[in-house]
């Protein structure tokens, strides 16, 4: 059996204090084996992005441990977390988060510059069908195009783990399928572990493992025996 890419034990996250405190995560125990595609489903506000932020090394848990391979993220210094993100993590954010003052290519270069073994930025943009738009600024791109730049930026560093927070939220299903294919490629060719948050339940069919989230905790984990290719998914 493969080693775990991630495992978490009793992770809680509380925003704020006292009466206004929000318990975003209420004790999450989770194991994600290396090389899998994992889909996270759950209602809005259930804590999916929060969990992604913590195992992606962007934020710290209020309590509990999160392991990447055998390193405890909760015990890492800020500097170690920075190196973890730099060397291993690819991120597609829910709100694209492109740098408005950089072109599409430069947004990708921003990541490839400090990555250990990156792709060519133009090649990454070509993968998401944006070969023609590399010199455009975010303000000159549509919402879906911006999202694709964000995806190109995440895969271009050849990450060990790839976190995608609603990568197809702004895309029509044809473009969405193309994007999911890119994610599948990264998973198959590079062996990257891929975590996808989505509201489209049908996308769960392409996953090795589906995690159902609700109210700050895991309600159910389903392991798929057979995966569909993105082409076979409808949403």
């Amino acid at each position: 059996m493969a080693q775990n890419a991630f495992s978490t034990r009793g992770i809680t996250k509380v925003y704020g204090e006292g009466r206004s405190a929000v318990h975003a995560l209420r004790g999450v125990d989770l194991d994600i084996p290396e090389g899998e595609i994992v889909v996270l489903l759950g209602p809005s506000g259930s804590g999916k992005s929060t969990l992604l932020n913590i195992i992606g090394g962007l934020d710290r848990a209020t309590a509990g441990d999160a392991f990447f391979q055998d390193q405890n993220l909760s015990e890492m210094t800020d500097r170690q977390l920075t190196l973890y993100r730099r060397d291993h993590v690819g991120f597609v954010f829910q709100f694209y988060n492109l740098m408005p003052s950089l072109t599409a290519r430069e947004n990708v270069e921003l990541v490839t510059e400090i990555a250990r073994d990156p792709m060519e930025p133009d090649a990454a943009l070509a993968m998401v069908g944006l070969r023609e738009r590399v010199d455009h600024f975010p303000a000159q791109l549509s919402g879906g195009e911006q999202q694709r730049v964000a995806i190109a930026r995440a895969v271009a560093k050849n990450p060990t783990v790839l976190f995608c927070d609603e990568p197809t939220g702004a895309l029509d299903s044809t473009t969405g399928r193309a994007v999911l294919n890119v994610l599948k490629d990264v998973n198959e060719k590079l062996g990257a572990t891929v975590l996808i948050v989505t509201h489209a339940a049908s996308q769960a069919a392409m996953a090795d493992r589906v995690i159902h989230f609700a109210d700050g905790g895991i309600r159910e984990v389903v392991v798929n025996d057979t995966k569909l290719t993105p082409e076979g998914i409808e949403w």
């Binding site: 730099r86 709100f95 740098m99 950089l102």
Partner: protein, 788 residues
């Protein structure tokens, strides 16, 4: 490959080019000023040194009543003396066509048949004198030009009571007469004091100095002990009426040149820091705002694994780009400005040539200081860059909480329309940000206030000097300490309404190591024309036997009322007096010291003697009075106060004091820069809100009102705050402009405050108009799409 972050810097710079340029300009002006002023000071010092050396200016001057020529060998034998030149000098009066009164002059001898060993002259026109012709003279070029005299002209002059006609054969300059001040006067004036050079034999004949000299010039060998040499000179010349050797540092012309150069030096040291501080402040505001608005980008970079240092360096580079750009522009500006200004000053000091020298250290200082001060502004911001965590930075800041507007809010709501309420709420809910903008504008106000009150300070100096302290019309000086009968003679003249005696005695004042070479004025007890006034402008009684010092002199000698001062008299019996300081007098011109006339005469054991008089006259009789004064043999010189006042004004407007106009102009520019910056930032912070307002149907005017109303309120609050700051700043600036020659007081002048307020309001209106234009032009869609 150029890093994408460097692309971002270039684009950010381009986007904020207006502000970057404004800040860069402030830095450039500060650095330029530093480079220019230090270059100017270095060049002037070098030029002066070269001029002195080339024309062999003496290092020690030893006046004496009448010493035989054979004493020259004894002087030359003093250890440390490298050359001695004896000469004859004497007071003269020159008749000039364009003045009612003859002009005082000094006649100076040049050796027959050889060049002077010391104090050579630089012939600018005509030829040298031929010692066979006793009526040939050289005239000081500046004096000749002031009276339109040329080689070939003849002039009449009175020497030692005898009037003679002379042939001007040449014009000359000399390092010892860069500035010429008539005896008994404080203000140098080319037109009112002349220098005549003639052959030693001719001059000795005129002043009964054959075979003798009345001034010895000495130069020193390297490493000589100046004080020891002067002591030895005094011992040798004492039996012949030596009145004390003095060093070049105390020589009148050189002293004035030094004063002026150190005035420039003070400006060079004092002004650039203000600019750099302003620049650091502006940079802080701009970069801080930029970091606030780029929280998400910062979070993103951190999320991708950029370290704090890398992200910090990114913003720091931006600061550096502006600082270095500004500093380099400043260096160029400084070189260009220095080259232009040095010409003006070379002409002003009458140096015959120029040694132009830039101080390379000033470039290094300028660039590094501007980088440092910019960094100080930048570093404060970096702290907040470091503090952002990737996850928190990627959530837009929570909308500001406007819910608690309190009880006043409800009352106001009934009277105010929606846009006015938005203005008020923003000001009350974001007090820190508003305070920042307000302090910035207040600093601009303070700078303007303090610069404008300085102009009033200069006027006050003139007014106090010529209308309050000295209320006479004419000052007369006598050839020697005359009897009081002279005063009675003056009183009898028709048209003379009041006469007041004065006795000026040359002294060296000492307190510990501090010394001052100057004059004590003995005034009569009921003095009305020339007065010693306290800081409240009330007459200080002199009868109690002590000495009253002007503020500048008390500071120089580091002495307080009640302390005892040593006064070495350099006249007559040359007694050394111990006198208590009884009071400090307000004086803005020179460094006068006052005593009671009778007390002074008693101390000198020369009762009832006067050396001059102050006259108040009826203007209708002016011509007759001038003529009568000319005919009085005891009168050595007459000076008209109106002329002295003009000369003083000229001095303050051409020398170091002239820098105040440059500084004033720059203060206005900075003020405008600060106000404009505040308006720009307010606009940038709110452009999205404004666009939203427009989208939901507000007119352009209403949208602009939300922004400009805020600017207006902030500006109005800044005015009183800036006035208070400016009041205190004006003390510092006034001190910077004060020298030993004249002092500038910090005055509270309401008109200046009003004018400064107009400047700030004008800047606010202009900035508001510029911003309004941008609001009108803004495209709604792009304003909504971009994050700022």
């Amino acid at each position: 490959m150029v890093s994408p972050l460097d692309h971002k810097i270039l684009r950010d710079l381009w986007r904020m080019k207006g502000q970057a340029l404004a800040i860069g300009m402030v830095i450039a002006v500060g650095v330029g000023m530093l480079v220019m002023m230090t270059g100017l000071v270095t060049s002037l010092n070098e030029t002066r040194a070269a001029y002195y050396e080339r024309y062999r200016l003496a290092e020690v001057f030893a006046p004496v009543t009448r010493a035989p020529d054979r004493m020259v060998t004894r002087l030359a034998a003093i250890d440390g003396v490298s050359a001695v030149e004896p000469r004859v000098v004497g007071a003269a009066l020159i008749d000039v066509a364009d003045f009612d009164l003859p002009v005082q002059a000094q006649a100076v001898s040049l050796p027959d048949l050889r060049n002077p060993r010391l104090n050579d002259v630089f012939l600018t026109d005509g030829r040298m004198i031929d010692s066979d012709h006793t009526d040939e003279i050289l005239l000081l070029e500046a004096f000749a030009q002031a009276h339109d005299l040329r080689p070939g002209d003849r002039i009449d002059a009175t020497m030692n009571g005898a009037r003679r006609s002379f042939q001007v054969v040449g014009l000359a300059q000399a390092p010892e007469f860069l500035y010429t001040t008539a005896p008994g006067e404080l203000i140098p004036d080319d037109a009112r004091f002349g220098v005549i050079w003639m052959s030693r034999s001719a001059l000795a004949a005129a002043y009964d100095m054959e075979g003798a000299f009345n001034e010895a010039l000495l130069s020193l060998s390297r490493g000589a002990n100046e004080a020891a040499v002067m002591d030895a000179v005094d011992r040798i010349l004492d039996p012949y009426g030596g009145t004390g050797a003095y060093p070049l540092a105390d020589q009148a012309s050189n002293q004035l040149v030094s004063e002026e150069i150190s005035g420039l030096e003070a400006a060079a040291a004092g002004v650039p820091p203000i600019f750099l501080a302003v620049a650091a402040f502006l940079l802080y505001i701009v970069i801080n705002r930029m970091v606030q608005s780029e929280r998400e980008e910062i979070g993103l970079m951190k999320a991708f694994g950029y370290t704090n240092t890398e992200v910090g360096a990114h913003y720091f580079k931006l600061v550096l780009a502006i600082a270095i750009g500004g500093a380099l522009a400043g260096c160029l500006l400084g070189i260009a400005g220095g080259r232009a200004l040095i010409q003006v000053y070379v002409a002003y000091f009458k140096f015959p040539f120029l040694v132009f020298q830039l101080d390379p250290a000033s470039f290094v200082t300028g660039v590094s200081v501007s980088i440092l001060s910019a960094s100080a502004g930048g570093l404060l911001v970096l702290r907040s860059v470091f503090a952002l965590t990737p996850a928190s930075a990627m959530r837009a800041p929570a909308p500001a909480d406007y819910s608690r507007t309190g009880a006043i809010g409800h009352t106001l709501n009934r009277f105010l329309d929606q846009p006015s309420r938005m203005v008020l709420r923003r000001i009350t809910r974001q007090p820190a940000r508003m305070a920042g903008a307000m302090i910035g504008i207040a600093c601009g106000m303070a700078l303007s206030v303090s610069m404008i009150t300085i102009y009033a300070g200069f006027d006050r100096t003139i007014d106090l000097t010529f209308n309050v302290i000295d209320r006479s019309d004419i000052a007369v000086s006598f050839t020697h300490a005359a009897s009081e009968e002279t005063i009675f003679n003056l009183r009898r003249m028709e048209g003379v309404t009041y006469v007041e005696p004065v006795r000026h005695v040359p002294v060296v004042l000492r307190n510990g190591l501090a010394t001052h070479r100057g004059v004590v004025a003995g005034l009569s007890p009921d003095t009305r024309l020339s007065r010693a006034l306290g800081s409240d402008l009330v007459d200080i009684p002199l009868q109690n036997g002590g000495i009253v010092l002007s503020t500048a002199l008390a500071v120089k000698l580091n002495i307080r009322p009640g302390d005892v001062l040593t006064a070495e008299v350099r006249e007559g019996r040359q007694p050394v007096l111990q006198i208590p300081v009884t009071a400090i007098a307000e004086s803005l011109l020179g460094s006068p010291a006052y005593m009671d006339l009778a007390t002074l005469n008693r101390a000198l054991r020369e009762p009832n003697r006067v050396s001059g008089a102050y006259l108040s006259i009826d203007e209708a009789y002016a011509t007759e009075i001038y003529a009568a004064l000319q005919d009085m043999p005891t009168v050595a010189g007459v000076s008209l106060k109106s002329q002295a006042e003009v000369a003083f004004q000229t001095l303050m407007n051409t020398g170091a004091g002239a820098i105040r106009y440059v500084m004033g102009a720059i203060a206005f520019v900075i003020t405008f820069g600060i106000v404009n910056n505040a308006a720009r930032i307010a606009y940038a912070e709110r452009s999205r809100d404004l666009a939203s307002l427009r989208v939901i149907g507000f007119t352009r005017g209403e949208a602009a009102f939300v922004l400009l109303g805020e600017l207006a309120i902030v500006t109005l609050v800044a005015l009183p705050v800036g006035s208070v700051l400016g009041y205190y700043l004006s003390f510092g600036i006034a001190a910077g402009f004060s020298s030993e020659l004249y002092q500038i007081p910090a005055v509270f002048d309401p008109a200046s405050y009003g004018f400064a307020a107009m400047v700030v309001l004008g800047a606010a209106v202009a900035s508001g108009w510029l911003v309004k234009r941008d609001v009108d032009r803004a495209e709604l869609v792009s304003a909504l799409k971009t994050r700022e």
